[in-house]
Structure formats: structure tokens, C-alpha cells
Symmetry: C2
Amino acid sequence: MPEFLKLIPIQQALNVLLQQMVVKVETERVHTLEALGRVTAEAIRSPIPLPTFPRSTVDGYAVRAADTFGASESLPAYLRLSGEIPMGSSPGFDINPGETGLIHTGGMLPESSNAVVMIEYTQQVAADTVEILRSVAVGENIIKIGEDVQPGEEVIPAGRRIRPAEIGGLAALGILELEVRHKPVVGIISSGDEVIAPDGKLTPGQVRDINSYSLSVLIEQTGGIARRYGILPDQVDALEAACRHALEECDVLLITAGSSASARDLTARVIDQLGSPGVLVHGVSIKPGKPTILAICNQKVVIGLPGNPVSALVIAGLFVVPVVESLLGLAEVGVRRKLIARLNTNVPSQAGREDYVAAKLYEDQQGYHVDPIFSKSNLIFSLVRANCMIRVPADATGLTAGELVDVYLLT
Amino acid sequence: MPEFLKLIPIQQALNVLLQQMVVKVETERVHTLEALGRVTAEAIRSPIPLPTFPRSTVDGYAVRAADTFGASESLPAYLRLSGEIPMGSSPGFDINPGETGLIHTGGMLPESSNAVVMIEYTQQVAADTVEILRSVAVGENIIKIGEDVQPGEEVIPAGRRIRPAEIGGLAALGILELEVRHKPVVGIISSGDEVIAPDGKLTPGQVRDINSYSLSVLIEQTGGIARRYGILPDQVDALEAACRHALEECDVLLITAGSSASARDLTARVIDQLGSPGVLVHGVSIKPGKPTILAICNQKVVIGLPGNPVSALVIAGLFVVPVVESLLGLAEVGVRRKLIARLNTNVPSQAGREDYVAAKLYEDQQGYHVDPIFSKSNLIFSLVRANCMIRVPADATGLTAGELVDVYLLT
């Protein structure tokens, strides 16, 4: 009954899965205002130059730069004021040699002007005369047509998750619809004779199903659609039937095993029957989450997660999130940004496996500090109390108080 | 016409606003599965202990610890096997002195047992006899009733943004509904004679409204509801009427000014007429975003944002996001986590103001590196090309290539 798993490092295990998984490309069209968090299905090219006209970047006077050469406070240049350039329309007049026009930030430059003198370095000395106190170079204080974006230029690559900046950029170009990837559908099955639904009444020996809920929202957070298929007993036939049904409707299937070793072995057996090639990885050198199963069954990803809710969330963050990102077509998959923090307490570990320890990060004048939250057997509320996870690298036998460690925020 | 603003540091400006703003507490009840990203309106206490029964954390044998004292590989203890404890129900038998029972991870301990010996340190030598090869202490390999959570204990504080971990914790406790804060409604008005709607056709001198779109989705990302009130010309009466109408329907009003100095001055004048105390801050020592206006009008926050779309997004991140977080009742407001990266290129700056520079962060074996993206006048696609902002502290006259700098991810 003891487990003899061949443990594989996290990155290697993930690569095995990502390399063999089949990504079906399905897309849909959404309004730009509904596209936040969605992933572009194709590169977006600009239909127009941006800006579409030469604009002033300051409040000042539009000039021919040559007319200002040599101008200084002691020896100003004097230009004839031809008028004020209105906002939102063509200037209505041109700048001939020796002439200038009042222009506002964002205003359109008259055709023959090629620079703007900031208002701070000018003085209107008569109704039709402006004193220029500083010279400007050609192109100074203006943005040329197409300086931000050229017509036909790729402005957003395929596989980009849309942020407020992209939505702004699309609005600037007048692009009000875009093609995004479908949200992958991830099925979740909980198993375990001891597990009941969260709305059930507990009798002695029973626990409520945490994983269906926590994994559902993690999947939604990542940009997928979660579908829950209930709780199955530790019974091969029933579990297998439920898995087959779920696999027909989903792109990915997650099975969280009961927590006993026999329940976990049963999950592996069932997964192997769901289709070929079946189980690719059984056992990852990580704590928590060692008995993780990564599989592909008839071109669909199936992941067997530990029953322990903390282990399940940690493993889902490391394996399910990249799988969903990959199905979304994201250009970068599995990127996790780390913060560096000073550790307040020793963290023991074993060499040869990567550990993740729930912890509390805080900032003071000296920077970031982190307090590990030790809990027996990874109780769910240790994670609720945490705002980050400390990573103990595989080659470390522990971390020492005072050293700088890698932490990943829990969001 | 030049601006003479009294510039105030960012944190001081934010504090002025947060201290004077009035937070109206309105709540609603949502299903736990719909609560991701919402903010708890009240502390949540556990109705039950967790676990609800003493559980084994390993696969092994439930024992009275005293029966194992002195046991070793060379001198094992022999215990009588009373049976196997089923998952999901009461053990059905007790452990008398000299007895043991097979138990699985998560199984319920028989009443008189007080420890579990891991299966690795046991051997079943006959149908009814188990050899114990190591002693265990009282409490070893078990979780006691209430060890994760005590009945009545506060498990989630008020003002906490709900993450997958909290959803899991609530499922564990059978809490399927919770009280969360209303989403604050943020109105957005764009102004500027040169600004047209994103779906409009450009004529020379015109630009499309970027800010209504980018700010809308930023507000939704933060947990608010955005309401767009269109684009107003640079005209006091029309702008004021639109603002009054919006303020009746919203908790916060954002006005992005036209980009010329006169348009910005007009915004300040209009805001001052909307109610007392009116403008609190006009001018923040930051680049981009100097001409920011922070105001409270009849107990509602009104923020005048620069018309430049990059400036508007940077300022919204620094001021609008904390205002929405504050209205949501978040315990921590305005917390931004920074990464440390090595700078690839010099970044010039002026002492006395905080600068934010769009940049590209990447990671290699040596850690994080960051490339600033320089762009004239903060063009929107410089932000689209960026994945972070570099912060240049107010006391620095610039940053030097090779130094470690603070960066904030753009999400």
C-alpha cells in the first residue's frame, strides 16, 4: 500500500504535458468593451496612422523652426501672429516665413510649420507680434503622423491577454470588435467516500467538498469556464462513467482524489482507462502535492489533483493554470512573477523537492518581509490567512531566517 | 495662460482625498460561488469546529501512543488489529490497550486512540497482528477537532477581497451565501473639442475618445461599475450640466479634460461649482499626470484626470483605484506590490517629482531586467507595448543603467 512514485521536477512535468497537449483553436467576436481579460485570437493591425495629423505636445506657438534659430532672451526673434489654431479641426491658415500661430496641446500643426515653441519661452508683445525667447529644432514639441503607430502596423499580437491599455489602444484606432479565443471548459469531479457537497449536513467522518468550489473560481479567474460534475464515491465504475461523461463536454478534466492512498491509486487507474496515451506523470517532486497525476486521454488533458484542498490549489496554480493559458493561446504560459522578501523564521525542507509554504507578506521601511504560516497537513484556513506562498527551491534543505526568499502572491 | 499649480506629493494628495471622503456602506447577499473578487461586508465566523472530528493526516495505524513507547526496528511492539476504519463514517470500534486499527488519510480516529503510526513504520505480520517499528507521541499524525478553526472564530475579516482560498474555506464550513459590499458606481465624462467617440469618423484635428474605454475597464477590474456619460465640448455650462446629472447617479465622477491648458482650467472651474468643499488638490508632483484634480463635491469624490490617455491611466491607477477600494471597504487601500529589476538603460528625471515610465520586464537566469520604453508625450501604444511601469522616486534625478529599480506590473 505504500506509494512508490517516480517523482519528476515541476517544470519537467509541466513541459511533458504542454508538449503533448492538443490546442484546439476556436474563436469568437466580442465588443472591445467586453474584451478585458480575453485573449486575442489574431494579431491586430492598425487601419490608420496614429496620430492621424501632426499634433503639438505643448501649449505654445507653431513656427518654422528656422525662424527661431539664434533666438534668446537677450536677442528674441519676432514673429507675426497669424491666428489661433482651434482644437478639433484644421488650422484654417498656414505659417509663412516669419509667421506664427497660437496652438494648444493636441492641436493640429499648420502645413508649413515644423516645430512648436513652448508658451513659457514666448511673449505676445502686440496684437499681431510674438516674441520668441528660445530657438527650437525641427520636430521639437510635435508628434508626426504615424509616430505612435503606422498604418498596417501590428499593434496587438495574437495571444495577448487584453488589459485596459489595449482597450484604450483599440478605442484610439476605432476598432470596436475583436476576435478572441473561446474560454476553455474545465470539468471538475470530486471523489472520496468521505466527501459531501458543501450544502450537505455533516455526519461523523465526513468532510465538505472544498475543491469543486475553490478550483471553479480559480479557473474562472484564469479565463476558463468551470463545470462541476459532483462528488463520486471511491468506486472504479462510477468514477469512470462520470469522467467519460465530463470529458465529452469539456476541454480539460480535473479529478480531485479522496485523500487516502488507495483512493489516489484508484484515480490513476481510472484515468488510464479514459483514453490513450493516459497517465504521463504520476508523482511530482513538490510539497504539497506529490501524488499529482498529469495525463492526456484522447487529446484532452486530465489532471488528478490531491484531495487536500491546499495541495489541490497549489497544484492547480502550477499545472491547471498553465494548461488553461495554453488552451487560451496565450503567448506566455505559466509565467509567475515573484517578489523578493526577507524571511522572518526558518523554514525546514528536504532537498530534492520544491516546497511551497503559505505565508504572510508585509512591507515596512526596510522592504518586504515574510512570515511563514506553519500548519499541520495544510489546513484550508492556513491559506485563507496567507497572502503569498514562499518557494523553497528543490536544491535547498530549508530556508534560514534573515535570508531573501522568493514569494508568489495569492490572488 | 501658463500653469502655476501648487504641486503636492502623490501620497499626501491621496491622503487628503481619502481622509475627507465619505464611504456609504451598502451591502448585498451573494452565493459563495459568485463572490470571487467581491469584498466582505462583515466578519465571517465559523459555525462549526474544523475539522469536526479527529482526523488522521497519514495512511497508517491508529494507536494509543503509550502502546508504542520504546518500539523500534530491533524491538517492535505488537498490536492486535481490531479492523479497518472506513472513510466517511464513524470508526465503528474503539481502540483498547494493545489494539490498533488500519486508518487512511482523512479517516476518523477511534475515541480512545490518540496517534497514528505511518504505514511505512509498520508491518502486518498476521491476520490480526501488526508490528509497530517506531514509537509515536500523543497527537502525532492527527489533527484534533477545531485545530484549523474553532467554533465562533473569525475566519474571514470584514473588508477582505474574496480569493479562491476564501471560497474554499467557506465551502468547508458549509457557508453558501455571504454579505458583500455594493460595487461603487463610477461615472466617466470625457471632454475636449477635439475628442470624438471611438465609433466616429475622424476629420482633421480630431482624436478618438480613449479614456472612457480604458478607464471603464480599469474600474471594472477594480470591482466597480463604470458608467459612461459621453464626450462634452470645452464649454462650462454643458460640462457642468453633464457633471451634475452624472453625480446624481454615481458614487464617484471622473472627468478627463481636453489636453490644452485652457480645457484643464475649465475642468477645475466646473468641479468647484459642483458642490463644497470642491477642489482639494490641483496639481500633483508626478510625471505623467501633473495637472490632476482631486475634489469632493457634496460628499462625492470628483477627480479631474489629464486628457492624455497614458497620464489618465497612470493617475487612475494611483488615485481612482484607491478611491474605489475605499468605497468597497477594503481593509488595505492603495497597496501596490513592486518587483525589483535591473535597469538596462538610463532614465532621466527631475528631482522633486515621482516619475512613472512604461517599460518591458523580462526574466533570465540572473533575475528580472527592465527596458524603459521612451515615447514622446506618452503615446497610448507605448503602454500597450509595456508590461510594467518603472518608478523613479521623487528624490532621484534619474536612474542609472545597471541599478536595481522598483517596477509595478501592468495588469
